[in-house]
Amino acid sequence: MSGDATLAAVPTAAGQRVRDGLRAVAEWSAPAVALALGVWALRRGDAADIGSLGLVTALRPELYVALALLTASFLHGVFRARPAPDALLAAHVAVLVVLLFGAAPIIEPLPRVISGWLHVGFADYIARTGETLPQLDARFSWPGFFALTAMATRAAGLPDAMPLLAWAPVGFNLLFGAAVFRLARDTSSDARTAWLALWLFFPANWVGQDYFGPQAMNYLFYLVLMMVLLRWFRPDRYGGLHQERPPRSPVALLLRVLRLPPRPLLREPIAQATGPASLVGLVAVVLAVFAASAVSHQLTPIAIVVSVGALVLVRRCTLRRLPVLLAVLLTAYISYGAVPYWAGHLHDMFGSFGNVGGTINHGAVERVRGDEGHQTVVLLRLVLAVAVWGLAAIGAWRRMRRGHGDLGLLALAGAPFLLLGMQSYGGEIFLRVYAFALPFMVVLLAGLLVPVWPARHRVPAAVLAGALSTVLIGAFFVARYGNESFERVRPGDHRAVEWLYDHAPAGTSFVSVTSNVPWRTEGVERYRYRPIGDDLGPTTIGAIEDEMRGNPKGAYLIFTKGQFVFAETFLGKPHGWGEGLERQVVDSGKFRLVYTSTEARIYVLGASRGGDR
């Protein structure tokens, strides 16, 4: 370089550095501003505004501005000629997780979903006694998560697990995201597809199985196991599927009908190379994680066995005997550790085997009930699920058109549907199938949107991705938080339950008219709770009286706002049903008021005195 050229290059290089610095500041300021604006908007939300469509009516418009800014910035980073640094894209994703899954803990004063509160009670029992109570609740037959929680909270010096409840969904989703990104990266030809798949995963994950409980931990186990198998235990070369087929073979005809090339799996990924010692270590990881899953959740280990079996069936897992080994481990645990459950519930476990129609009816059709708002929420969920599956199917087709088909990915996206033929899982199997298939569906979905690089039409692709993100994020707040009117825990309800624990002698009965009460967080074995396992408790004066007189040690009848909302919104009871029932209780003269607040009352048996209310 000549002297003149050197002199000219110095200010140019300095100017370039300044421009790069300014661009980096602008890029990083987008997620920072979105986070600050979003949290500010959420803090201004009022839980009192939650209506029959859930949390969405309590959200401020500024939150949508923050999410729009975040989405635009993220998609610009993904779709520009040279993708943004991984750290920047990861920061966008982390902010998205906080704004989507942190919305409820920021707006609501108490952790949501009473099932999570119950899990705190189960862990509390184990922490106090070092034992389980399988006769009390089926979940105690799979106590792994509760035992871990008990050990961890007591070692940490916490009185119980309540401090972990509110933000557990954010923590779990960040972990899910790490595993989903690796899955997407290992099954996609470029990083853009993986980033977009990760971005779409969160708003599409409205299922709500990420609250504090064994199902959330087991979902992480499921994702990690599939990640390990897809990454290290694929074949390192493929045989027959890549060879030319006779033009009249059934597969060739099918490919022609679907307008697919003769070799749609041409560029299928292969196993990552690693040494034999590392492979042995990875098998040990698989077995340890599966063992922990088998002792801590009813459904996930079955989903793992089915998915691993599907991978082996399509020859995308070299551990051919693994599904058999996992099935033996699972059967051994159920035969030994879950006897108190299956001894009396064989019909619950196997009664719906093969009854796909009944399971779909129980899990989807029968769920369209309750008030108008709740029906809208359930229908939106169904539409979202079908839309994600449909778009993923088109994405799979496009990938195969490019020769980027991945049989392992397709097998894992489809395998969870086999669960529909096995168990109705209390009507929840539809949600679980959607959740288990989702990580693989979003990779296929992203394959529909991300063009082959270098792309001539990346702006339309980015706009399309932006439109889909907007729809999914907008729908997320209704689909996920649509039941918030009764899934949130009201402070008034909680105070009433605390009063019970402070005043009720051990052995007494706690009676409510619906199951939506935030109790059993402590002393699960000290009191008799009614109802358990059913949505409705006793709902006539005679039935309530019989239930309370059935316990010679005494009984408390609790009416809370949360129960009434649950009855109207979810169970479809007429407006004012709960208040009417309580009025009958008061008018009967057989119950005495012992606690009252604006949102809750507690009665005991006995002649009422004037001025109780």
Binding site: F145, S189, T274, A288, P451
Partner: protein, 144 residues
């Protein structure tokens, strides 16, 4: 709109990835840190350290360290995989240890924490020993 590319025979991307065994040796300080931090966490529990520090330290340790120490024994080319496998394995080991104590009627959160600390420390020491052995072997090959 998405472009459809003509299928062409190409070397799959992952075939080109370097074998993890060829990657440079990992630094020793994470394993040393794992060995040192375990007794520190145990000390916080035994001597009932400040409540916030104790809660955060113990929960973070149980959620990450035992599994990560074991996962570090496996050669992996990227840190994200190691981390997420480490967290899942930590939770799995925690579940198995806690449930094992229930089955054996030996319930003690301190015993559980001690067991997991021992597992993590053994894994970290094994990693350090392996790295030292490989380092010596590498120097021997270089000297020849």
């Amino acid at each position: 709109m998405t472009e459809i590319a003509e299928p062409r025979i190409d070397v799959p991307e992952q075939r080109a990835l370097p074998a993890a065994a060829d990657s440079p040796p990992p630094p020793p300080w994470p394993a040393l840190l794992i060995v040192l931090v375990g007794p520190g966490v145990l000390a916080l529990v035994v001597w009932d350290g400040p409540s916030a520090l104790r809660a955060v330290s113990v929960l973070a340790y149980l959620a990450v360290v035992p599994g990560l120490a074991c996962a570090r024994l496996i050669r992996m080319s990227d840190g994200l995989s190691r981390f997420v496998i480490g967290v899942a394995l930590s939770l799995a080991l925690g579940v198995l240890v806690a449930q094992g104590m229930i089955q054996l009627h030996r319930w003690s959160p301190l015993l559980g924490l001690s067991t997991l600390t021992t597992i993590a420390s053994l894994a970290a020491v094994t990693e350090l020993a392996r790295d030292v052995r490989e380092h010596r072997r590498g120097r021997g090959v270089a000297a020849e």
